[in-house]
Structures are given as structure tokens and as C-alpha cells.
Symmetry: C2
Subunit: 552 residues, 2 copies
């Protein structure tokens, strides 16, 4: 018999999930983890380089391979991973399933929190691994792949625990029949759907994968983790930590397997189409995401691309707004799925508490704020990070060829710590509301579009259209008018896009807080799932009720 | 400002939904509704015959049409219904939507319970309408289309109320930042997906449609109700009652519209494919159901066909078991989606508390029980009801041509009250476990297959395979062995099929009680949805969270 060691943690998380006030189990400050933790993590990270990765509890590999390159040094990490055949991975998952399926959700949740505690011990290893595969800054790497990812994983565990306990395991049903009654013993079981597959992306290999991994596991499904071949290490460390705890607790490490592959021998489609895979979580581009969504007989959770808008109608303090937006667009060089891209500004300009600003003045303020941030030696390189891959760099370099008026041309990134870092400062382009062919595409990376509209009504109409047709994960809006606020909310919520109003100071539209902000709504083409709403959990299992004549 | 008149009813229903003990808001005994209610209902039903149906609050029809025929008299009801163009129906629904969407879920739930109270006043009109369109007996017509349907509707309302109130409408989010803190005002909105379409079937025109209708409405979506052209009247009366209450409460009756059509000018596909329709609930055959499930950009809830199994392993009292099964297969002549069809019996026979019975003895007992029931003048006709349509009659007539050994040939139904009733007593066929081509199809209607298997393990394996490949809504099993019970549960639940063990006496596998038994699990090909699990509600709306800097 198991004790539920982490019951308080789980129940507090369930409560937080529902209250949606500020809540965090894993502090986001590196300092909270001890003075030497960062250095020790860096050393452990360095010790992994130029070696086969041996932490996994998986055997039977057919070969070893790896192709990760640090966006900061542009040198190969030299780490190889065991490669397995898709059939082998699926068969091992199926073999491991029954014991886990027949364990109560309480015990599963407890063991999974224990795995998060084990992952916590590797936060800094994971941070350096994330930095040197994704190009995120150290701070973002630490927070996004460490405490923030763990918090989102806990959110999924808590939702699984809550939903899995929603109905009584057994009860006596008694129907009055006049002077007598009819009695049935009933039991309700949350039957897991099967084997899960979690397909990661190259920019957020941990944060975007943990919710699906933990949602599969808490609901009783084994999971196969298929990282992007250019960003394996961060999630490999997590998977190894999970496997270690599973084994310690008497369960098969095959409940959570790493399925590394290479760019020249991708196994993603083979896994997706494998009849032994029932659940798929996907983060990445829309073309592959649409393929995944169209697969027959699979339960699919996607986060794809989108075009995020900022509607500027009227502001109190224009400088505070522009500083906030400059940071939002520069953060990780626009490689966040929540980064704003399209800025809708009325041709007649906007009102501020210091009077009216013309369109051109707004554009100038925006340009100045971006230039000032990226040229700030204490801020620039750390905010921008590095570009994960060459395609993004090329897209940024070619921004000037899109046919728009170039307001600010991207410059080579100057990073004193990493002189070979792959990077480029943001390009700012100006277009008119007629240039839909330019702004209706996702320009992933450091490219922004300032769109001159007839008025805010047109801005809203275009932002709405973009979200409906091309997807949107976020929308920021600046207005001092209550009526306009209501209209923007109604219109954008109507296409299932959340709105963040009047963000200035230390809060940016890019950020989604676990336990409070849903990440992606699931209602527009940016994705069909949401971290972590009830559906994200419920679609992974099926409620089945059995009945029995009492005493039979 | 509205008062929540039915708050107690709603909260009791939420509690019942979760506890899953016996619960009912609408008594199933006709007597509970007053002494003259049945007669008044019959008179109101008769007054509707040979007339245009004028109770709907819908205008702008293009024509009037109707083609219902009573399975009891085989005469046309002569009722015509207003016919509308699909575009007109969708446009009216869209126009009615905003006011309803912007009403709180509490008020919507309250108004919807009020509509159920109005429907209750028509229970007997609906009962006669159901009887003379579906062929159900009077008692089944009353219960299934009256109190049982209303209870399932209330279940959906309660689930919508619970889920719609799951997150706070607004709150202050406060993140500690050292000596200061960051404050955001947040609000959470459950945004309805759009316009719903509920496609009914000819055998349970009310019971199978009400959950979808009320699930759409409680979550803020207008709904278009598309009945089977041969069974319009029962649901037309319900829709009219709903429209009346909506109008009284100041809402548009177009929130719930009837979309009658005719066999020669069906509008179902046009409605399904209409870009203005976002949600579809479907009950009926698998071919059309698979088409509905494959539609792009629609949220779809289906109940299709299945092959329900009975596994007979060992019994205490064989006569009690056979009486129970004879009733199950005779009830409404096997036209219930929960009716058992395939009976798996080991070749070596079964054990009973009075010793062993050979396979042939079990078959004989089964045949005797069916013959005894259908020939019982007090039971036969009332249990069998009538066959809804000619196809079902023809299938029953042709049962002997399936290539199986005929154990009992179906006979013309003798119904003294309705001498022209369309009907046929059950046909019993015997096949071997090799005759999969015979028993893997749904033989909707009064045709049963007794399948001789090697042993109970083969019985289980075949029942499992049928459920997995062809779908199953129910499974009955008889065993006195705890190990076998566990194995049957594990295997059938593994293909998302519930099991009812050792049913004898006044409880039959066909029955699913609201507030306790999920109807269809949604996990096998018999359907992708379940009355009423949380998904049945959650997939009809999208949670969207907005944020705002406090004081901005």
C-alpha cells in the first residue's frame, strides 16, 4: 500500500487550478535553489558534451546519433542518443501499460509529483541544455524549462487527479419500487485510451512537452517522447529523471520513453500512424500540425502557429507602453509562440494623456524603444538570446524584401559573451491594412509589422480575421476607452483569442502563468488544445460504468 | 435581474450527477401526473392529426409537409410541418445568439429547467406522438420520451451549470515581487462555439435528442433540431414548448428551431456542411455517423450502431436469467440501441446452481423463455411494441436466409388493440464462433444470434473484438466466478464497453438510468460521445481568459 506523500501539494494545486489566483510550486528565481546550484548544473551539463547520453533506462537501441548545435557557439554539442525502432518503442509502452493503468490515480499523481521533485534537482543542467539547443537566454532557459514547466506539469497532474476522482469508484444504487427497492452495485472506471506520443519543438523542448507527458501519465497512459532532433538534451534529462523515479517505485521505465531521431531519418510520421498510438500531443508548425489533426482514430492535442496582434487605440503613458512592447518583441527574438507580430495603429494616430500622437510619431516611438533596448549593453543580448536555426536568421535577413517600408533594419547581434552567437536584432516594417498578403503569415522570429489602419474598428476587424483564419494565441490591446475595451474583448473572444489590456511595467503579453492563464484556447487555428483546461485531461481516458445485481 | 427560481433543482442535479446514486426529478409512473392526464394527452394528440402543426413560433416557411405513419395503424398521421431553407434556419439562429451568449449560465440553466417544466405538461401528448411514430409501447413512449428524457436533459443542464461556473468570472491576480507585487485583473469567459445541429433518429426521437439540445443551449449555443422525417411530432411538441418559454422570458424562439424535412428533400447534409453550424449531435446509422464524424471544423457528438453482446459463463438460477434475457431481447422488438444481439454460450454448456446444462439445453431454455413471453397475452404485444419501419420488418423476415440454424422463426405479431400493427416476434438463430460474417453486423430489430464458442475465454475474446471493431453500447455477462467477472470487466472495459453482471428480476441491460449510468462511453465505434460525461458539455464552449493591468 502506498502512502500519498504529496497529497497536500496535489490538493493545493487542484485548488489553485480552480481559483486561478497567483500560485507556484517551483520558485522562478534561480537563487531559490541554493548558491552553487547554477555552477554545479553547468558542470554537469559540460560533462555531458561529446559523449553518448547514458542516463536513460532504455535498452535495445539500434544505433546512437545526435546533431545538436549550440546557437550560442554554433558548435556541435557532440552528444549522441540511443535510437530505437518505432515498433520497439510502442511494444515496450504497451507491455508496461497494465500495471500503471491498474494503479489508482492518487498513486499515479503522487509518483508523478515525486518525478517533478527529481526534475527539480536537474533544473540547472536542463537550463544550460535548453540554452545551448534553443538559443534562449540563461534566465529564460532556467525559468521556462525549469520551474515554469514543472508548474505546468503539476497543473496537469492536479487536473488528472481531480477528474480521475470525479465519480465514486463504487457505490450502491438503490431505486425505490413501491414497498421494495432495486439494488445494483456500480463501479466507475477511468479507462486510459492507450499509448501517448508527445512531439516536441526546437524552441521550447521542455515547457511545451511537459503538460502532454504528465497529462498522459496521470491518466494512466504510457508516453513516448519524440523531441525535435535539434533540441533533445533538455527533455532527455527530464525523461531520465522520470524513468529513475518510476523504476524506484517499482514501475517500468518504459512508461516514459525517449524516441530520439535525426533530421535525415525522422520517425515522427511512423509513430503518429502506428496503430499502437492512441494519443498525440504536438507542438510545432501548422503544416505538420494539420496532418496530425487529420489522422483517423487518434486523440490529438495541438499547438501550431498563429499571428498575434496588438491593437493600439489610446494610451495613458506612451513611453511605458512602448518600453513594454519593445521588450515583448525582443524577448527571445520573437521566437515565442506568444510573441506579438502585427501592430495595428490608426492612420490618424492615437490619443495619450499628453495629447495626440500622429501615426508617424507612434512608429518613431516604437522604433526608438526597440533600438534603445537592443543597444543597451545590460539588456540587449540577454533579452534577444540567439536564433535557434538558420531558417529564422534567413527570414529576418530577408524581411526587407517583403515589399514593406523598412522602419528599422535588423542588425547583426552583438553578444560579448558568445561572439559566435546566431542572431539579429528586430526588423520593423510598415504596411497598410491592404497588405494582407504580408501580415497574414507568421514571420517567426525578430520581424514586426506596423499596420496602418483606417481606425481602431478596422484594427479590430483585421486582428479578428487574422485570429479566425490563421490562429492567434495572444492579443494585446491598449485603450483608455471602456467601450472600446468591451468591443475588443467581445470581438477577439468571439474568435477564441484572449486579450491582455494595457500591459506596462513588469508584465508582458508573452507570459502565461501556470494555474491562472490558459495557454492557447483550442478554439482557433493556432491549436486545438489548451494548457490545462479540463478537456486537455478528459480526452485521454474514457469513463466506463459497470453494474451488478447486488449479492449476485 | 433574474431570480434563479430552480436553483435547488439544478444544484441537486449537479450533486446527483457526481454521486451517481439513484436520482430522478421526473417520476416515471404515469400515475404521478394526475388521473386524467393520460386521457387529456391522448385527446390533445388526436386533435393534432390531419392538421398543419401550428404550435411553433417560427415564421417564413417555404412550404408545409409531413409523412408520418403510425406503426400501429399503418395509417398516415396527416400532420404537416413548416419547411424552412437551411440558410434561413442558420441565419435566424445566428441572429438570436448574442443575447443568449451574453446571459449568465445560471440564468440560462434556470430558464431551461423552466422549459422542462413546460415539457412535463405535454408528457402524454408526447407519449402518444412517440407511440404512433416510433412503434414503442405506450409505457415506453411515456417513460422514454417523457420523464427519462427530461431527466437526461436536466443532467445536461446541471453539467453545463457546473462546468460554466468552474472558474471565477473575475478575480485579482497578485504576484509577489519582493517588497512589491504585480496585480492583474483577470476574467474568464466560457465562449459558446456557435450554432448547434441535433439530428434525431426514428426510434427515440426525444430521448436521444434532448441531451444534445440542452447541452447546446445551456452552454450558450442556439440549436437547430433536425428530426427524422418519419418521427417529427414528438420532438416538435418539445421544441414548441421550449420556444414558448424562451419567448415568455424575453428571448428569441429562434434559439431552438425545428428543421423538419421530408425523405425526398432531406436537408441534413446541407445543414451539416453549412459554415454557420459548429456543433453536431447525431443519432442513427453508422454510415451517416461516420460522414458526420469526418466533417472538418465541426465539433461532433455521435451515437451510431453497435453489436451488443451477452456472455453466458455460469449462472445461479437459469430460469431467472432466461426470463430476464427474453424480456431484454423482446423489449421494443430489439430496436433499442442497448438491446443485446449476440449471445455467446460455451459449446460445453454452463454450470448452474442446479448442475450443468448442455449448450442445447441453454438454447432450449432461451427459446422457451422468449416463446412464453411473446405468447403471454398480457405481456407479448405490450413488450414488443411495433416495428418502426418496413426495413426492420424485412430484415426480420429474412433472418432465416442468413445461413444460420433457425432455432425460432419470427411470427406475425398479434396485437389485439392494433390489429394492423407492423410487427414480428423475435427470430432466434444459432451460429458457431466461426460465423463472424453473420454476427459481426448489427441486425437491428427482433433477430438474435446464439453463438457456440469453444469456451468463455473465446466468448470474451469475440465480444471484445465485436466491440472494438463494430462498436458496443452495452454488454451483459452472467458468471458466478469472481475471476471470470474480473476478466470480463478488464477485457470489455478495455474496449470501452460497460458490463452489467447477472441481471435478473426487474432490471434489464437495455436500461440506462440518468444521473447514474453513462449512455455510450464514446470510446468505441458505437459513438464518440456519452450522456452526460463532462466532455459532452465541455466541447461545446471554449474557456478564454482576459487580463488587464489593475487600475488601467
Amino acid at each position: 500500500m502506498f502512502n500519498i506523500k504529496h497529497q497536500n501539494t496535489i490538493e493545493n494545486a487542484v485548488k489553485a487550478n480552480h481559483e486561478r489566483a497567483f500560485y507556484s510550486q517551483y520558485p522562478e528565481h534561480p537563487k531559490a535553489y541554493g548558491e552553487n546550484a547554477a555552477e554545479q548544473g553547468e558542470n554537469r551539463y559540460k560533462a555531458l558534451l561529446q559523449q553518448p547520453f547514458k542516463q536513460l533506462l532504455q535498452t535495445g537501441e539500434t544505433s546512437w546519433a545526435g546533431e545538436e548545435v549550440s546557437p550560442y557557439t554554433q558548435e556541435a554539442l557532440g552528444i549522441t542518443y540511443p535510437i530505437f525502432s518505432p515498433d520497439e518503442l510502442v511494444h515496450r509502452a504497451i507491455a508496461a501499460a497494465p500495471q500503471w493503468r491498474n494503479t489508482t490515480v492518487d498513486v499515479r499523481a503522487d509518483i508523478l509529483v515525486e518525478t517533478l521533485e527529481a526534475v527539480k534537482e536537474r533544473f540547472f543542467d536542463i537550463a544550460y541544455a535548453t540554452m545551448h539547443t534553443t538559443g534562449q537566454s540563461f534566465m529564460m532557459s532556467f525559468q521556462a524549462s525549469g520551474p515554469h514547466a514543472n508548474d505546468r506539469a503539476l497543473e496537469a497532474i492536479a487536473m488528472g487527479y481531480h477528474e480521475g476522482n470525479r465519480y465514486p469508484a463504487s457505490l450502491m444504487w438503490e431505486k425505490p419500487m413501491g414497498k421494495t427497492s432495486l439494488q445494483l452495485k456500480k463501479n466507475f472506471r477511468a479507462i486510459p485510451k492507450g499509448v501517448g506520443l508527445v512531439i516536441g519543438c526546437s524552441t521550447f523542448p521542455v515547457w511545451n512537452s511537459l503538460p502532454g507527458i504528465y497529462a498522459d501519465l496521470v491518466t494512466g497512459n504510457p508516453v513516448i517522447v519524440k523531441p525535435h532532433p535539434k533540441a533533445i538534451l533538455p527533455i532527455a534529462i527530464v525523461v531520465a529523471a522520470i524513468q529513475q523515479v518510476l523504476q524506484e517505485k517499482g514501475f517500468s521505465p518504459a512508461l516514459c520513453q525517449l524516441a530520439a531521431d535525426t533530421s535525415t531519418a525522422l520517425i515522427t510520421k511512423t509513430l503518429c500512424e502506428h496503430p499502437g498510438i492512441q494519443l498525440i500531443d504536438y507542438t510545432g508548425g501548422s503544416a505538420f500540425g494539420n496532418y496530425v489533426e487529420a489522422l483517423k482514430n487518434k486523440t490529438v492535442f495541438t499547438e501550431k502557429a498563429g499571428v498575434n496582434s496588438v491593437i493600439i487605440d489610446s494610451v495613458a503613458d506612451i513611453d511605458a507602453v512602448m518600453q513594454n512592447l519593445a521588450f515583448s518583441v525582443s524577448l527571445y527574438s520573437g521566437q515565442m509562440c506568444t510573441a506579438p507580430q502585427n501592430f495595428f495603429i490608426p492612420a490618424e494616430g492615437i490619443t495619450t494623456s499628453n495629447g495626440r500622437l500622429s501615426f508617424d510619431e507612434v512608429v518613431q516611438k516604437f522604433k526608438d524603444a526597440v533600438v534603445s533596448l537592443v543597444n543597451n549593453p545590460k539588456m540587449g543580448a540577454g533579452t534577444l538570446g540567439a536564433l535557434q536555426n538558420e531558417n529564422t536568421l534567413e527570414r529576418a535577413h530577408n524581411a526587407g524584401k517583403l515589399g514593406a517600408k523598412v522602419i528599422l533594419e535588423g542588425q547583426p547581434l552583438i553578444n560579448e559573451e558568445f561572439t559566435h552567437a546566431r542572431g539579429c536584432t528586430p526588423s520593423i516594417l510598415e504596411v497598410s491594412s491592404n497588405d494582407k498578403h504580408i501580415f497574414e503569415q507568421e514571420l517567426f522570429g525578430p520581424v514586426l509589422l506596423l499596420i496602418k489602419t483606417k481606425d481602431t474598428h478596422e484594427s479590430i476587424q483585421l486582428a479578428r480575421q487574422m485570429a479566425q483564419q490563421h490562429g492567434a494565441i495572444t492579443c494585446a490591446a491598449y485603450t483608455t476607452s471602456p467601450e472600446m475595451k468591451e468591443k475588443i474583448t467581445e470581438e477577439m473572444n468571439g474568435v477564441f483569442t484572449p486579450v491582455s489590456f494595457n500591459f506596462t511595467g513588469f508584465i508582458w503579453v508573452n507570459q502565461h502563468a501556470a494555474f491562472s492563464d490558459f495557454h492557447v484556447t483550442g478554439g482557433n487555428p493556432a491549436g486545438n488544445a489548451s494548457f490545462t483546461n479540463p478537456e486537455f485531461i478528459l480526452r485521454r481516458f474514457v469513463w466506463v460504468g459497470n453494474r451488478e445485481v447486488a449479492g449476485s
